[in-house]
Symmetry: D3
Subunit: 331 residues, 6 copies
Amino acid sequence: MRFAAFGEVMLRLSPPEYLLLDQTNDLRMDYTGTGVNIMANLAQFGYETSLVTVLPDNRLGQVAKAAIAKYGIKTDLLRFAHHHIGSYFAENGYGARPTQVTYQNRHHSSFGVSNHEAYDFEKVIAESDLVQICGISLSLTDDTRDAAHTLAKKTAEAGKKVCFDFNFRPSLNTEPDKIAFMREQYEKILPYCDIVFGSVRDLTDLLQLEMIGTEDELIIQFMDKYQIEWFAGTRRFSENKQKQQEGFLYSREEYAVSPKRELTILDRIGAGDAYAAAILTGYVERWRLQETVEFAAMNAVLAHTIHGDVPLTTKEQVFTVLENPGIDLIR
Amino acid sequence: MRFAAFGEVMLRLSPPEYLLLDQTNDLRMDYTGTGVNIMANLAQFGYETSLVTVLPDNRLGQVAKAAIAKYGIKTDLLRFAHHHIGSYFAENGYGARPTQVTYQNRHHSSFGVSNHEAYDFEKVIAESDLVQICGISLSLTDDTRDAAHTLAKKTAEAGKKVCFDFNFRPSLNTEPDKIAFMREQYEKILPYCDIVFGSVRDLTDLLQLEMIGTEDELIIQFMDKYQIEWFAGTRRFSENKQKQQEGFLYSREEYAVSPKRELTILDRIGAGDAYAAAILTGYVERWRLQETVEFAAMNAVLAHTIHGDVPLTTKEQVFTVLENPGIDLIR
Amino acid sequence: MRFAAFGEVMLRLSPPEYLLLDQTNDLRMDYTGTGVNIMANLAQFGYETSLVTVLPDNRLGQVAKAAIAKYGIKTDLLRFAHHHIGSYFAENGYGARPTQVTYQNRHHSSFGVSNHEAYDFEKVIAESDLVQICGISLSLTDDTRDAAHTLAKKTAEAGKKVCFDFNFRPSLNTEPDKIAFMREQYEKILPYCDIVFGSVRDLTDLLQLEMIGTEDELIIQFMDKYQIEWFAGTRRFSENKQKQQEGFLYSREEYAVSPKRELTILDRIGAGDAYAAAILTGYVERWRLQETVEFAAMNAVLAHTIHGDVPLTTKEQVFTVLENPGIDLIR
Amino acid sequence: MRFAAFGEVMLRLSPPEYLLLDQTNDLRMDYTGTGVNIMANLAQFGYETSLVTVLPDNRLGQVAKAAIAKYGIKTDLLRFAHHHIGSYFAENGYGARPTQVTYQNRHHSSFGVSNHEAYDFEKVIAESDLVQICGISLSLTDDTRDAAHTLAKKTAEAGKKVCFDFNFRPSLNTEPDKIAFMREQYEKILPYCDIVFGSVRDLTDLLQLEMIGTEDELIIQFMDKYQIEWFAGTRRFSENKQKQQEGFLYSREEYAVSPKRELTILDRIGAGDAYAAAILTGYVERWRLQETVEFAAMNAVLAHTIHGDVPLTTKEQVFTVLENPGIDLIR
Amino acid sequence: MRFAAFGEVMLRLSPPEYLLLDQTNDLRMDYTGTGVNIMANLAQFGYETSLVTVLPDNRLGQVAKAAIAKYGIKTDLLRFAHHHIGSYFAENGYGARPTQVTYQNRHHSSFGVSNHEAYDFEKVIAESDLVQICGISLSLTDDTRDAAHTLAKKTAEAGKKVCFDFNFRPSLNTEPDKIAFMREQYEKILPYCDIVFGSVRDLTDLLQLEMIGTEDELIIQFMDKYQIEWFAGTRRFSENKQKQQEGFLYSREEYAVSPKRELTILDRIGAGDAYAAAILTGYVERWRLQETVEFAAMNAVLAHTIHGDVPLTTKEQVFTVLENPGIDLIR
Amino acid sequence: MRFAAFGEVMLRLSPPEYLLLDQTNDLRMDYTGTGVNIMANLAQFGYETSLVTVLPDNRLGQVAKAAIAKYGIKTDLLRFAHHHIGSYFAENGYGARPTQVTYQNRHHSSFGVSNHEAYDFEKVIAESDLVQICGISLSLTDDTRDAAHTLAKKTAEAGKKVCFDFNFRPSLNTEPDKIAFMREQYEKILPYCDIVFGSVRDLTDLLQLEMIGTEDELIIQFMDKYQIEWFAGTRRFSENKQKQQEGFLYSREEYAVSPKRELTILDRIGAGDAYAAAILTGYVERWRLQETVEFAAMNAVLAHTIHGDVPLTTKEQVFTVLENPGIDLIR
C-alpha cells in the first residue's frame, strides 16, 4: 500500500522545558504539518509513503527534506521553489497554562504561492494508492486551493482513494464571508473523497447540514450524499478535571466507538494526525471498525505523550500498551 | 499608574529538568526577588514600574540590570556599589520530593550593606504613585531595615501609597529573640502602610494580636489599628493529595474569597508575588474585591506553571483562562 | 559498618526531556547498576561503601571510576581489564507511553568475561561487614556465575553477612531450560545468604516452592529452609489509574508492611535499589521492622522522583518527608 | 546625547557550536539588525538610545521588545502591527568554510509593510539628537523607502543630525535596473545626511561618481557635494592567510587611518555596526579623528570575537585592550 | 550513477565543546562509518546511494536507519539482525591535545557477526553501478572478511565497478602475524578492484612491494599488477606548525597533485572519506585528473571544518570556495 | 607518596561557547581552586591526594565534596561549617577579547572565616608526605593566614615537606600598605618551605630582594636564604602574536629550562597549577631537572587546551605528546 499526502511543511520552533519565548535563547527546530505527521506515522507502521509539497529552494528546503527523509517518508515527489517556509512558534503549556501557538507568514510560503502547475500530479497518482489532502490547503491561498481541487479530482478520476480532513482554521481565511466561502470549497472537494476526518460540528457549522434526527443519522446522511466510505473523528471530555478522549468511526453500514481514554499530555499538537494515520491503517488492512477505532484511539493517546507534532509510534508499541494496561517499563 | 519596589535582587541558580545539583554541571541563571517579581508582572500588565535596589558595581550588576530591563522594569533608580549579589540555588522538586533552596551569603550583598544613604528616595517618591516594600528587608541587616523604614515614612509623608508584605524568614534573623525583635520592626512600619499582604498567622504569631473572635474580626481589628486599606493573602489546602489554593482580600468594609483552584506546579517559587501583583492591579484599576481576588488567584495558579520566580503572565492570558476553563491550546 | 557490592557497572544513555532516540542527537551519560545504586545510596546515608567489579582498561573505565567516586563509593576494590562496558539506552516514558530500555552487548563486557580470578575476594571480605551480590550475575555468563558463587561462599565462611536479590532477567538467559537452570543457581547461592530481596513469585516460579498455605507461610518456609534473616520486597497497585506501592519485610519471627504510597514517577529505573539500600540501613541500625519498612518505602517513593537509576536521597530528606506530608519547599 | 535608529529588527536563528542546520535540532534565537546593533553598542557605551521600527503585534513582537530592552535600548518608540518578523538562519563558518546566511521573507515583515504613517516621527525627532537610518530600508519595499526618506528629511529640517550607511544588498532589490534605481534613492537621501558610512566602491559603483584623482579626492568631492561632515568605513586585507582590517575616517578637512588589526573571528556578522557605533561615539564626544578611528577599529576587532550580531563591548574594555596589547585575562 | 557501500555503521558518542568524558554528562550521538560517510557525501552531491550493512534488530537499528535516511542514503538494502552496534567515543582534541578515540566492542556487532548469507548481494549489484568496500571489513572478523570477498568477486563478475580502500587498523587484528595475514586478504580482493584509496606505505608495508625506483613507478607497478584504474590518497605536511595536506591521483597513464591546502581542523575524523567521495565524483563525471584532485582536496579541507565524521559538503559549496579564496560569508 | 593541599574551594560559573553573561541563561558549574587543581592532577598521575579545607555545611558543601571525589581526591580531611562558598564567574575570552573573571564574596566564605581551630592538622600531617599551601590564603583573611602559618610550621616540624606558591592577588588585600604587609607574611612562612613556585618579580617586588647580579644569582640567593630545595615557575613570550611559554626549575646546584612551547588556549585559568603538579611529580619521582621541567611545561601546554581550571591530563598523555610532536588523533 502506497500513501501520498498533499500539504504544507512548516517549521516549528519551540523553547525547551515549558519555558516561555522570553525566558530563553534556545529553540528546538522541527519540520511538521498534517501531511508530514500522517505520512511519518504510516512509515513507522511499515508503509511506503510520500509527501507532495513545495519547499524553499535554499538551505531550509534542504534541511526540511533531510528531516522528512529521517521520518522514513520518500522525498522524490518534493518540489523546490521560492525562498520562504511557513513557520510557527509553540510555547508548550503546563497545567492551567495553555500551549500558545504563534504563526509566522504562511500565505507567502513556497507552498502557499504554488498552484497545480508546480507539481507533477500524474506521477503522484501513478505512484500512490491513496492520497491524503489536508483541508488547510483550502483555507490558505487561491494557489493552494487550486492545487488541492486539481489533485482530488485527478486522483478520483484515476480510481485511486482520496482522504480528506476538514481542519478548518478560521484565522487563515480573510474572505468577508468565511463560512460561505469555505462551504463552497468543501462542497467542491467532497464528491471526490472516500475517507473523511471531521466532527459533527463541521457538518452543521461548515457544511450547514441540518440536524434533524440524531448525530448518527446526520453523519450517515452526509456520507450518503457524498458517497463517503469512512468518516472518523474524536470527541474530548473532561471528568474530574481529567481530560479524556474517545474515537468514533462510521462506515455507511455500521459504526464503532472506542473506550474513553485518559490523556496525559506532553505535547498537544499533532495527536489528531496520529488518529488519522491509525484509521487509514485499519482501512488498508481491512480491520474491523471496532478494532480500528480502538487502535486509533490508543495511537492518539500515545501521540499526546511524544514531543513535537510527529507521532513516532509503532504498531507493536500500540498493541503492547493495549494488551498490557498500565505497563510502564519495557526491557 | 507608576509603581516602584524596594527589595533585594537575587541570583537564582537552578539545575535543568528536575536534576539535583550533584547530577549535572549545568545551571540556569535568573535574577529574581520579591520586588523584581511584582514589578515584572505589573510591567507585563502594562504599567510603568521601577526597581529601587543596590546592585554590585561589576559585571554581575550589569548583567542583573539587563535582566531587569528585559522584564520591562525601568532601571534608572538602580544604584551600583560593592561587589556581591545574594544568591540561591533551587533544586526543583517533583512529586513527593520537595524543592530544596540553598541560600548563599545574603547579609554581605550590595543590597544588604546599603542603608538609606545609598538611595535617592526623593526621586523614587517623585516618580512613583505606589511603593512596594518587601518585608524581607526588615529581617536582613541594620542597613536594610534603616532603608526600608526611611522609605516607608517618606513615601507616606509624601502622600503616596505604601504596600508591604510580611514575608518573615526566620532563617535570616540572628537576633536572640527574633519574634520580639521583628514585632518591633513590623509595628514601626505598619503605620505607614496602605496595602498589606500576609496571613492570620502573621497577625497572631508575629504581631501577637490576640484572637478573640473570628479570623475576620481579627483582620478588621488589625486593619483598623494601622489604618490599612486592603489586606490580602492566600490559603492552601490539600484534597485527595491534590494541592489547592484560594485567595482572600479584605477592605475595611467587606471581603472576598476566590474559588479554590487546583495547583499544577512547575515552579513553586514566586507565585505569591504574582498574587500580590494582581491584587495591586485590582487596587489601581478600582476593580471590585471579588473581581480582583478571582483575577489574583488565577494569576497565582498560572505563576505556578511558569519556570522561575518571575510571573510572566499577561492580563489577557489570565482572562482567557478564567473565561475558558480547561483550554489547552491557543492558536 | 562497611558495605561492599558485587555487580556490573553499566553505561546508561538517555535522551533528554522525554524525547525519543530518533528525535535528538543529545544523550545523557550515567554509570549505574544494582551494586552502584545500592552502594551510592548507602554512601549518601553516611556509610562506607565499596564496589567490586571489573571495568574496561581504557578511558571508559576511568570515566566510570570517576562517576563511582563522585557517588562517595570507595574505588580501591575496582579492577580494570578488557575493553568493553555493558550499556543500555533508556527512552523515558510519559503517561501511557512506557519507558523503553534497549540493551547493548552485556555478555562480552569486562565484567561479563571475568571470573573469580579477576578479583581479590580476600581483600573484599576483609574490608567489608556485609556483601551485596546482585542476582543478575547468576544470569549473565559462566564467568560471572563463578565469581558470584565464589564470593558468596567465601563471605559466609568468613562470618560476614551476605545480601542477595533475585533480580531475574529472562532476556539474559539463553539456556534451553532457563527456569531449571536458574533454580539450580539460586539453590546453590541461597544457603550462604542472610538478607534476600524478592517476591512471592520468585519463590513459586523460580524456586518452585509449593504454595500450600498463605503467602506468609510460604515466605517463612523459604526463610527457614535457607536460614534467611530478613526477606523483603515491594508490591505495586493501581487504584483509579494512580500507581501505588507498599513495602514488606519479614524476619523469621514477625513481619511489617508499609502504608501504600502513591508514586509520581520521574524515572522508573533503580527505585527497587533504593528500597534495598534503606532496608539494609534498618538492618545495620537495628531499627524495628515497621520503622525500617516505612523508611524504605518512602525512600523508594523519593527514588522515583529522581532522574537516573542512582537514588541520591539522604536519611534527613526521607525523615523530613515522612514527618511533613505534602511539604513542597524547603529553604 | 540621545540617539535613535530607524531599521528592521530581524530574528536570527543559529545552530550551536559550528553545527550545520541538518546536524541538530537546536537553534539559538537572537533579535538583531543594523539599528539594534548600533543602538545596543551605544547603550553599552553609556548613551540614551531608542529604536524606531514596527514589530509584529503578537508574542514575537513582545519577545523582540524584551530583547531590545535587555540591550539597554529604550522601547517607547516601538510600534506593533501585523504578524510577521523578518528572519534569517546563520550557519557559522569555520576555517575555509564560510558562514552561510539564509534569509526568510523580509518583504512582508511588519517593518517591510509599514510606511511613514505607521510612526510618530515628530516624537522621534523631539526625543533624539542624532537619527541613524539603515540603508537597507531603501532596498526593501516602497513602504520602507517612504518611511526612510520622510524621516531623513524631517530630521534634517528639525536641525538634528542624520547618520546613514549605504549597506547595499543586491539580493533584496527586484527592480529591473537595480543600480539606477538605488542611485536615485541614495541621491534623494544624501542631502539630508551628516555622517555617512560606506566605501569607495559605493561612491563609484552605486553613485557612479567618476574617479578622476585619488581615492581621497573622490571622497572629499562626494562629501562636498552632499555637505557630509564625516565619512567612514573599513578596509579588509589578507596577509599570509591572516585576515586584517583597518578603519578610515574623513572630515572635510582631514582624515585618519587606524593601524591594521588582525581578526580572530568568532562571529562575522555585525562587526561593521560596532565600527559605526564607535565612530558615532567619537563624533558626539568630539574626539580627534585619529583617536576615534583607532577606538572604532579596535571595537570592530572585539565585535568579531563576540557571538551574534550585537556588539556588547564597553568603552572601558576597548581602552583596556588598546592599552594592554596581548592581555588575555582580567580579574 | 548509482553507488552502494559495504561497511559497518558505528555509533559515535562525543562530549560537546572540547570537553573530556569526565567533565560532562552530555554526549552527542551520531551514526557513522566509512560507508556512511562516502555515501552521504555522494548523496549531497546529487547521486543515488545505498548502504549495505547489518544493523541491530532493535531500537538502535531503527534509529541508525533514520539517521542514514536523513543523509539522503537509500535504506532498502539494509538488513536487521542481532542486538549490538559497534560504538566509539571521540573526545575532540584542541591545540596540542590530540583527539582521543575509544572503541567499544566491534567484533560482536550485528555487522561483525554477519557473513555473506546475511545479505542479498544479487540485489545490491543489480541496483548499483559502483560498489565501495571498506577495508576495515577485512580486519574485523571472519564473517566480515567472507562478506567483503564475496561481494567484491560478485560485483566484478557482474561487470560493475569495485572501489576499495586499505584503511588498515592494526588494533582490530588479533592474528599472531597481522601483516602476513592482511597481505593475504588484500591480495585476494585487489584483483576485483577498479579504484583504490591508499598510500605508498600501504604498498610497501602491507603488500610488501619492493620500492625499486620512484614512488610513482611503484604505484604504476601496483596498478598494473592488479589492473587498477585509479589510485588516490592524501599526504600531510607540517610547516611552521601549520598542518597542510595535498591530494594525489593516478590513472595508469598520468597523475595529478593538488596544491597544498592549510587545514583548520574542527573535527579530524572522516575527512579521508570526503576525499574519496570527491574522487569518485570526478571518476563518474569523467573529470580530468587535475580537476578531480583539486576538487577532492578542497572537499577534504572543508570536511575538516564540519563536526562529526559525515562530510555534509555540496558541490556548489566546494566550487564557491575554490573560486573565491578567503570568502567567509555567503548571503 | 601522599600529597595534601590546603586552600579554598571555589565555585566557578561560566557561560558556554564563549558567550557573555548577558547573552545566555546557561552556566557551567565547576569546583576549583589551586589546591583542587594540583591535587586533582596528581591524582590523575596516580598519587594519593587529599584536600584540607572548610566547605559550607549545606547542599553546596555536599556537591563540592562529590566534585572533589570525582577528581580522585580523598575527602576525609574535609571539614563542613558555615554556609557560604566563594565563587567567581569566568567569561571565556576569544582572540583579542580577554577572559573576564568576576569574583563574588570570598572573605566570608566557609574557608575565609576558618582559622587553624577548624582543622585537625595533626591528622593532615600524619597522613601526608608533602603539604601544598596556596599563597592566596595569606592574602585572604586573618583566619586563613592563621591557618596557613600554623600548618606550615607544624608540617615542617614534623619533618614533612612543605610546598608554597606566591600567587599574590592584589585585589584581595585591603590593608593600606599591601606590599609591606604581604612581605611580612611571606617572610614568616618561607623558612618552613621546601619547594616554592614563583617568579623573579615575586622576589624583587614582594620580598624586595635586591637584584645585584643576574636573575640566576638572585634566585640562588633567595633559595639559600630560606633553604629552599626547588624553585620553579614559567615565563611567557609573544612572538609574531603567537603566545609561547617556557618553564624553569632551580635546585640549589643547577637549573633547567624547557623549550619554548606555543600555547593554543581553550581555557587560560589553572594552567599554572598543572605546571606545579608536574614539578611535584618530578620531585617525588626524583627525575632529573631537565626531564622534570620539560614534562611540566608540556603538562601546562595541555592544561591550556582543557576546559575549566582542573588539569585532567595523565602522565601517559603528556609523554605521548612529547614523543609524537604534532599528533592529533589517538585511536
